[in-house]
């Protein structure tokens, strides 16, 4: 930080002078665009790692019985798939978008704290290495599930310690990232841009960053307690010393439920940028969008125990958490309504970003409805820990967050690279992803309703057919993402030159700078009228 502090009075200093090249450009990166790019590549790499984990699981589940994996290793893969996708892929991807887009959209020259930005990125590869390395310690990686429930997490081998350390690093990275984003958005907007005229993506990220700041430290606390229970003789969750394993679940989900909104709110922001552009209309109900986002965030803090209906809870508690959870459907419904109303009578065209955005609304609504079903306590007791919940959270996380990330990537890729992506590849990527996604996850609803529990390496014969279908779909979905890689690499290497505006009806400051966006933008703040 000290280097940033000694602010230089001479404005004429040479830019090229502190513009390192080669590997130094990336290791010492302080430019928000470079850091954003690193975030995005990192999260894509993690998507592939987590995806390979998932495909191993699906291979084992192709047929009943044990074919290729031992149950212990299967549990490790389940856990690591969750941890890597949540903390390694989806969250960093959104931070990558924030890095690239927030300064461009509010007319700031960079993020508020450039060196901290660099540090919060470089913590991630370290954390990811710890996670991957934990496969190779005695006892293997943690197999307690991504929620790391006590008492399992108190009992696991050293792989658990590595996972805890990795989560601490990723948490620290997220906290620094959100401090950076909040400060940038609140203090560095261009003159003439009040909060209520800010692009929707910045609004959703501002609210997400506050959520992160509020709950990420609570997760850090929870896993610190697990760590001290394991090694320093405390008894927070250790029943032997009067601790309570259910307490872990309460503390974890106090973080965990806001966490799922942390992964979806920026996605809402991206969709709110994409749809108006391709519907050639202004976003319907801007201020209601802002209030809906804020109310989702606030409500998310008081619904955590709906993850715990089966742990035994007084009826009044169940009723409170049930109704509070169902209440979230209202602001979410407002958002879906506004998106559809934006499309209504718009002159729509369906380029790849719009395809993904429309697809997002469709599949996210399905995921939202299954969520509503599980908010009902008596139904949840039936469906808890079955494949129904697996279907639900993949509908909101894959078809929700991931599809929105794809939409955003195709939408801003011409601005980032200066080239148009290959529309044909993009369309292939969308349709393959959409179809194979549903082949993979739709049958899971039926499996769950029929009572197939999650996180088992084996299952009875009657689930065999659907599981075979799911596995085929999963491989299709995994391979479809290679089309994405191909489309992105092709776009970086060349293609039709993108205009500054890129899209016919694109509005916002990011479309006023050249494509590709130069290394330094908005060094003198633009004036928004």
């Amino acid at each position: 930080m000290s280097a940033v502090l000694d602010h230089r009075a001479d404005h004429a200093h040479d830019h090229a002078h502190d513009h390192p090249t080669g590997w130094r450009r990336w290791l010492f990166a302080t430019n928000h665009k470079d850091i954003g790019t690193m975030y995005l590549w990192f999260s894509f790499a993690m998507l592939l790692v987590g995806g390979v984990n998932a495909l191993l699981l699906r291979t084992e589940l192709f047929q009943p019985g044990l074919q290729i994996l031992q149950p212990e290793f299967f549990n490790q893969l389940t856990t690591m798939h969750g941890l890597i996708m949540v903390f390694g892929s989806v969250m960093p991807a959104f931070v990558g978008f924030a890095n690239w887009q927030v300064p461009l959209m509010i007319g700031a020259s960079d993020m508020a704290f450039a060196r901290m930005n660099n540090f919060s990125f470089w913590l991630l590869p370290v954390a990811a290495s710890l996670l991957v390395a934990s496969y190779f310690v005695p006892g293997g990686a943690t197999a307690a599930g991504w929620t790391l429930y006590a008492p399992l997490s108190v009992q696991m081998g050293p792989g658990m310690d590595l996972a805890i350390l990795a989560l601490h690093l990723m948490g620290a990275s997220s906290i620094m990232g959100s401090i950076n984003i909040i400060t940038t958005i609140l203090n560095m907007r261009a003159p003439g841009m009040p909060l209520m005229k800010m692009p929707m993506f910045c609004w959703t990220w501002l609210i997400t960053a506050y959520l992160l700041l509020a709950v990420m430290p609570v997760l850090a606390g929870a896993i610190t307690m697990v760590l001290t229970d394991r090694h320093f003789g405390t008894s927070f969750f250790n029943a032997a010393g009067g601790g309570d394993p259910v307490m872990y679940q309460h503390i974890f989900w106090f973080f965990g439920h806001p966490e799922v909104y942390i992964m979806i709110l920026p996605a809402f922001g991206i969709i709110s940028e994409v749809i108006p552009t391709f519907a050639r209309k202004k976003l319907f109900g801007y201020s209601s969008m802002v209030y809906a986002t804020a109310s989702i965030a606030i409500l998310s803090m008081i619904v955590w125990a709906h993850h715990m209906f089966t742990t035994g809870m007084p009826v009044t508690g169940q009723l409170f958490f049930m109704y509070a959870t169902m209440l979230i459907a209202v602001p979410t419904g407002v958002k879906i309504f506004n998106w559809v109303a934006t499309m209504w009578r718009g002159s729509m065209t369906f380029e790849t970003p719009m395809l993904f955005a429309t697809g997002f609304i469709f599949v996210f609504a399905i995921g939202g409805f299954t969520g509503l079903i599980m908010a009902v306590a008596p139904l949840d007791i039936q469906l808890h820990d079955t494949y129904y919940i697996v279907a639900h959270f993949h509908y909101v996380l894959v078809a929700g967050s991931l599809f929105a990330l794809f939409a955003g990537t195709y939408y801003w890729l011409p601005k980032w690279t200066g080239h148009m992506y290959d529309e044909r590849l993009g369309k292939w990527h969308f349709w393959m992803s959409m179809i194979t996604f549903n082949i993979t996850f739709f049958p899971m609803h039926f499996l769950g309703l029929a009572g197939m529990p999650r996180r088992y390496a084996d299952y009875p014969m009657q689930f065999a057919d659907f599981n075979a279908v799911v596995t085929i779909g999963a491989f299709g979905f995994g391979l479809s993402q290679l089309i994405f890689l191909w489309a992105v690499v092709k776009c970086i290497r060349g293609g039709v030159k993108a205009t500054d505006r890129v899209w016919e009806n694109a509005h916002g400051l990011e479309w006023t700078v050249p494509s590709p966006a130069p290394f330094h933008t908005f060094e003198t703040p633009p004036v928004v009228k």
Binding site: A112, L213, M225, A239
Partner: protein
């Protein structure tokens, strides 16, 4: 570094905000730990999860309750020791009338040649019977210290609340005796052994 360094005023503003937000993060870290006593307090107030709390009203309740001889409930006794304990009830099960004062004796042996402190945690099946199981005397009300290789007999005196739901005919009372201060006595040693074996092999 990035283009023009922001004017010093803006820089100071940013740093002030950094300070405030960092305080929020640290406070929330503390809040995570605060949740532990907070939940304990909530459980105490609402009467949820008070497994080892002394039931002060139980003796009074037992004196003033009619014995319901028309009804018989089977109470099964189960005992598990985690750590260096040998722990078992002297009878496996009893037929009990609701309202009747019952005494059952558990034998606990410390198999370690050193004094050891332990705590018993009760659990009930079916779960909703817990509220109707009133214990007047129980070794689970406090930690117990046993000398080297000492064996001790512990009585449990209880009375079943006659308001026990009619469909409950069998209650299982299960105690697990944990070693206090042992480093997660349940599985850590097992894990360590496994790891040792893995290295040895």
């Amino acid at each position: 570094m990035n283009g023009n360094p922001p004017a010093s005023g803006a820089r100071a503003l940013n740093l002030r905000m950094l300070g405030k937000l960092a305080v929020v993060a640290v406070a929330m870290f503390g809040f995570g730990f605060l949740l532990v006593p907070l939940y304990d307090r909530i459980c105490e107030v609402t009467g949820v999860n008070s497994l080892t709390k002394v039931d002060r009203g139980a003796a009074e309740f037992a004196r003033n309750t009619q014995v319901d001889r028309s009804r018989t409930v089977v109470v099964e006794f189960d005992a598990n020791g985690r750590g260096a304990w040998k722990f078992k009830p002297e009878v496996a099960s009893l037929e009990v009338h609701p309202g009747e004062l019952v005494t059952v004796v558990y034998d606990l042996e410390n198999t370690r040649p050193a004094p050891t402190v332990g705590q018993a945690i009760p659990s009930y099946a079916p779960r909703q019977s817990a509220g109707y199981f009133r214990k007047i005397e129980c070794f689970c009300f406090q930690q117990q210290e046993l000398g080297a290789n000492e064996t001790r007999r512990f009585p449990v005196v209880f009375v079943l609340d006659p308001r026990l739901p009619k469909d409950v005919n069998t209650i299982t009372l299960s105690y697990t005796f944990f070693e206090v201060g042992g480093r997660s006595a349940s599985a850590q040693p097992q894990q360590a052994r496994d790891a040792g074996a893995a290295r040895g092999g």
